[in-house]
């Protein structure tokens, strides 16, 4: 602990208030996070991918609406740096459009899932008893049906679009943060310092809002980051199967759905660019999540 604090001691001019990192857990967490190279690389990659997806089309104009069958399945060339797909769309331009959908759906679905999950888990774990039992059996029942089976059924029944995709993926994904937060709450509420709040006449709301939820913030943020990664994979998997957002709207998974047909024809440019885009983006979010975990875990600090 001491060597970390010493290394991060801010330059202090006389009269200025001294704030040591040890006195400010957020700053210490941020310092630990920045020290971690993979986290910074991940974060930079996410920013670059967002720029590529949202700003790229402003500079690289392609026709992603009308098909061009004579120009389909062309290998990479100067006109099409990543070739064209089976209906003649430019792969590079499509990669940008696909990135927009992936990032939008991933972030929004993770927000939906985290918000519901934290509230549900904290209440269930804190109240305990029969309420906790009922609330957790409901989570268990939904968790018992593997996500993909539930999502495929729902999108066989409903036609997918972006808002529905966000809502459904979010509504399916809140179960894990709910369980995690509930489990931490169960352990936290018996800790001496939380019991001390009760002893000093603090309200139940104060115990949950000021002492329990802040102590699970690490778990929450780590899980939220992983949720983004999972939502991007869920979207890609559904789209790969042909149940995602329909063309001409683009999505990385949907770009790969014809890959299985053309893998035998050696059309590598249809398989690798979208696949690598998914893997690197998901990896970036997972790397950030891992580092957040290290940053928030007191016991790992200074080691």
């Amino acid at each position: 602990m001491s060597q970390v604090a010493a290394g991060l001691e801010p330059e202090v001019t006389p009269g200025q208030e001294i704030t040591t990192p040890a006195g400010n857990p957020w700053r210490l967490a941020a310092a630990t996070f920045v020290e971690n190279k993979s986290a910074v690389i991940g974060l930079v990659f996410i920013v670059l991918m967002a720029a590529f997806s949202f700003l790229g089309p402003l500079f690289y104009h392609t026709n992603q609406v009308t098909t061009n069958l004579p120009g389909s399945l062309k290998p990479p060339s100067s006109a099409h740096p990543l070739g064209t797909d089976d209906v003649g769309y430019d792969e590079l331009g499509r990669l940008m459009l696909g990135g927009q959908t992936s990032l939008e759906v991933g972030l929004a679905a993770a927000l939906v899932a985290t918000f519901i999950g934290v509230a549900y888990g904290a209440i269930s774990g804190f109240v305990g008893g029969i309420v906790d039992g009922i609330m957790m059996r409901a989570v268990d029942a939904l968790l018992a049906i593997p996500t993909l089976f539930l999502l495929i059924y729902l999108f066989t029944v409903f036609q997918a679009n972006v808002p529905l995709m966000i809502l459904v993926i979010g509504l399916v994904a809140w179960l894990v943060p709910a369980r995690l937060v509930r489990a931490e709450t169960l352990s936290l509420r018996t800790r001496d310092y939380v019991q001390a709040v009760r002893g000093m006449g603090g309200s139940r709301r104060r115990m949950v809002a000021r002492h329990i939820v802040p102590n699970t913030i690490g778990t929450i943020m780590v899980n939220a980051t992983f949720q983004v990664a999972d939502a991007i994979v869920a979207l890609a998997s559904l789209s790969f199967l042909g149940l995602g957002i329909q063309p001409p709207a683009a999505n990385w998974g949907q770009m790969l759905s014809s890959g299985l047909t053309y893998v035998y024809a050696g059309a590598w440019w249809l398989i690798y660019p979208p696949g690598i885009a998914i893997v690197l983006t998901v990896m970036a979010f997972n790397a950030v999540g891992d580092s957040l975990r290290d940053a928030f875990d007191n016991r790992l600090r200074g080691r």
Partner: protein
Amino acid sequence: MIGYTVRRFGQGVIVIVAVTFITFFEAHLMPGNPARAILGVHASSAQIAAFNQENGYNHPLVVQYFDYLDRLLHGNLGFSYKQNQTVAALLGEDLPASVVLVGLSTIVALIVALPLAVLQAVRRNHPSDYTLTGASLLFYSTPTFWLGLTLIDLLAVRIHVFPPAAPQGAAVQVLAHPAGLALPVITLALVSIASFSRYMRSSMLDQLAEDYVRTARAKGVKERIVLWKHVFRNALAPLITLLGLSLPGILSGALITETVFNYPGMGLLFWNAAIAKDYPTMLGVTIVVAVATVAGSLLADLAYAVADPRVRYRAA
């Protein structure tokens, strides 16, 4: 422990009942009404009336639910009008092949992941730890379908190591073709290896930071004993829960793997049913998958309670 087992088993039953609520609700999500959705747009009104009569769809919802529960308890998972077979018969053909796929890949994953994780935890922040952590992050972040695609491209199309398509037929025939089984098992195992080793590594690190480790070292216990007898065993406990919790994910992965490799399991059955809008088959498979998941998590929790008695917090 007996009290805990009974209570936990009761919870399992409650969860299954709750699952039947969900599938019953799903059945009523079918576009139009179930008769239209199942029989198709060309069904005559007489056929629809007969269908509603036969399946009790003209009864009140509560009666319909209890009828549904009654049928499930008698092992009647529904009837696939598209394939003109009972869902139970369809599952009887395809379920064993999925058990083979999921079982083999999980065993392979555990055998590979546990030693890797211990190595990483002991060599924390050494180059070998960075390499393995990077590799597991890579595979953990790779969608199953793309992993399958690249393995087909690399190991079946470019270099002919394994056949690209899975063996067809029942579980026994599947097992008779280990070469064809290789790519699907590797695909599913790689994702699990990444997830198991990630958890095990962090679980080992958590345990290594505990006071009892310092105590053991202070009293002169050999590092090898500290590691394997104290740390490894304590670190394994959370992994039991992870195994139980991973089952739905592994089954989702199996669905994708079976679709990519055309492997004749439950996931492919479900997916083909989705394409054909064969709702009864989809719901029947969902019930079976859910029961398997609940049973898996029940076993995991019981095993965890045996491994770590502190878990039985309300089991006095």
